[in-house]
């Protein structure tokens, strides 16, 4: 190619969020035992019920074994080499407003493009930012409060709305759920909490920005969103981390509860550091996300764009309990260089006439391995349940892999379950066609890949669809050539 220098300039751009913020942190010693859990709980002045719950989770976790059924290969994780809590050192108490937040932190978020402060007002997005283990700033609290929406750091909600926490925490993902979720229950540090009251349409997009900064720490945040009857909320999370040669563990839990006629739209743009081109470093992302459509006519929609992490293990699912409830899962997952992704969803149909839609787009490049793993389970009570699943895989190059494991368990003869799958490569014809119209090879590939992902991107809130598209382009740089 004659424009090699251009291409390599693009390629060298690489991971843009790989910087480290030099900020004093309060990090506890590595290792995990009861005293660590008690320390975390004490630091947060948690009520007894929460400490008890954490301790039950820890005890349970000790009986569990790390699962290895996923199509993933990675060195063993030493859970005692990880520090389970790290927080930027604050002078005195937690910040009460943005003005009290350490300017270095604000600068970090500005660098990342997170719209705190005035930019947030312009963008109309309320942001909760989680830096290492603690939530540092929540914007737009006042305007949301007017609408009756509670949007705050999880640890704050524990203080201000303990009854909601006690009622809903662990009600979708119990502390016994799985190895990583159980670990999270024991040591989770912070995260976001949302409650949208009955009949309220949340006046703006809510957003959480997660950032891992400190070395040798794990990040274990926990998000709980409750949409009361007839309410609506759209929520977006974004994630980045510095570039490091060591792997770092991220084991989050997200629980969504939609009561009757409520709707929750949860979008993720995950761009944790994926490791370098040789597969060194990167985030191990083991995440449990589940929503329950508890009331009739409720709806939960997961949209995820997963471009980062060395290892991705996540299956955002929906428990469709309410009659006529709807679950959706739209996913784009990329695996470039030595990234491995094993992701998909679980749709559990319990109520009558429940419906679910699954659209998964997997892109593999370099030596990347991309697996779709999905479960559609229809219980005997789910008369008239319907599911439609489509899994498309796109391969760039010949050293990568795409794998599909759809599990279908239907215990109701009236249920309709459809599954379509395809695997394709970017064809020489498509590439040449675009080049003949004047597009460079890299641009042509990006355009074709974006087209492949279009069905998913159009589900994202508009301001993030563009970001997702750009991110995808960056994560696939150098994939064809």
């Amino acid at each position: 190619m004659s424009n090699n220098s251009e291409l390599s300039a693009l390629f060298d751009r690489g991971y843009e969020h790989g910087f480290v913020t030099d900020i004093e942190s309060d990090t506890i010693a590595a290792g995990l035992d009861e005293s660590v859990v008690r320390l975390i709980s004490a630091k947060k002045r948690e009520p007894q019920f929460l400490l008890d719950w954490r301790l039950r989770a820890l005890a349970h976790w000790r009986q569990m074994r790390e699962p290895h059924w996923a199509h993933l290969h990675y060195p063993p994780i030493d859970y005692n080499a990880i520090s389970y809590f790290s927080a930027p050192k604050a002078s005195g108490n937690a910040p009460k407003s943005l003005d009290e937040v350490d300017p270095k932190l604000l600068a970090t978020y500005a660098k990342l493009g997170v719209p705190l402060h005035e930019r947030a007002r312009l963008a109309g997005v309320a942001v909760d930012a989680v830096f290492d283990s603690v939530s540092v700033a929540t914007t737009f609290k006042a305007r949301l409060a007017e609408a009756g929406v509670i949007f705050c750091p999880f640890s704050e909600a524990v203080q201000t709305h303990p009854q909601l926490i006690e009622q809903y925490l662990g009600s979708v993902v119990p502390y016994t759920d799985n190895f990583y979720a159980t670990l999270n229950c024991a040591v989770f540090s912070d995260g976001s909490f949302v409650y949208v009251p009955r009949g309220v349409r949340c006046p703006m997009e809510l957003s959480t920005y997660f950032r891992i900064n400190a070395a040798n720490t794990g990040q274990f945040e926990r998000t709980l969103i409750i949409a009361d009857e007839g309410s609506h909320v759209s929520y977006l999370e974004g994630c980045t981390a510095p570039m490091r040669d060591e792997n770092q563990l991220h084991a989050a839990v997200v629980e969504l509860v939609a009561l009757a006629d409520a709707q929750i739209k949860y979008s993720t743009v995950q761009n944790w550091y994926p490791g370098d081109a040789t597969g060194r470093g990167g985030i191990f992302n083991f995440v449990t996300k589940r929503g329950e459509c508890r009331g009739r006519n409720s709806r939960i929609s997961w949209t995820q764009v997963e471009t980062g992490s060395a290892i991705t293990w996540k299956y955002p699912g929906c428990v469709l309990r309410g009659e006529n409830s709807v679950g959706e899962f739209y996913s784009v997952a990329t695996a470039n260089n030595y990234q491995q992704a094993d992701t998909g969803t679980k749709m559990i149909h319990l109520g009558a006439n429940t419906r679910s839609t699954i659209v998964s787009k997997g892109i593999s490049a370099g030596h990347g391995q991309n697996t779709y793993r999905g479960l559609v389970k229809v219980m005997p009570s789910a008369h008239g349940a319907r599911n439609f699943t489509r899994c498309d895989s796109l391969l760039l190059g010949s050293s990568c892999g795409a794998h599909t494991f759809p599990y279908i368990e239907s215990r109701n003869a009236q249920a309709t379950v459809e599954h379509e799958a395809s695997t394709s490569r970017i064809s020489e014809d498509q590439l040449f066609y675009c080049q003949q119209r004047g597009l460079g090879q890299e641009d042509a590939v990006n355009m074709i890949v974006s087209g492949f992902c279009r069905e998913v991107f159009k589900e994202l809130p508009m301001e993030f669809a563009v970001e997702a598209q750009n991110l995808l382009a960056v994560s696939l740089e150098g994939a064809v050539g």
Partner: protein, 256 residues
Amino acid sequence: MSAPLLQVDGLRVSVAGTPVLHGVSLTVRAGEVHAIMGPNGSGKSTLAHVLAGRSGYAVTAGSVRFDGVDLLAMAPEERARAGLFLGFQYPVEIPGVNNAYLLKAALNARRRARGESEIDAFDFLNMVRAKMRVMQIDEALLTRGVNEGFSGGEKKRNEILQMLVLEPRLALLDETDSGLDIDALKVVGRGINTLRSPERAVVLVTHYQRLLDHVVPDQVHVLARGRIIKSGDRELALELERRGYDWLLEAAAAVA
């Protein structure tokens, strides 16, 4: 006479080790329309693809100059940005990529290459709509995926629409007439004529002379078995229509 826009000299091309073009020479000047005709498998499409820079073809001898520059040294996208357009015989579908989006990206790539700024979105839409009316293309096709689910005729008209938007200096149209009914042929012919100007040239690759009823060529060449075996004017096309290719092939064989 003006300097040639396209100068092909003794071009020899192999595909997977098999020679397909055995020394093709062709001179096209700005303002001219050339038709390259010939039986199936004569190398017509190969010639068009080699000129556009498609991979998989090995040039073993000869040269091609486009506006005085070595065309074969350029990447396909550079050729396009320099003003060379290929209308495809089988336009490929690109699912999910908006037709208008590709068109705008293509136009802006060409404009940037000429040192111009990107086109205003509003101006672009007005311009494209006007050209769609010329090509009698339903506006709904603008927002569909590129060629996705288009009928054969829609794909061909879409190719000509792209050509009209990009305003190339040289348009190579590879069997644009194949698979078109008489009405569509007329529309396509009108589209091509719209582009004709003293600064531009068109090379039509075709089996049949019927497109030439609508787009009258200045020169007609017969390409057979990898060689141009006869060149002439409009009359040659009409004669081919009456007599077929065999008499020419026999004559060429006798000379060889």
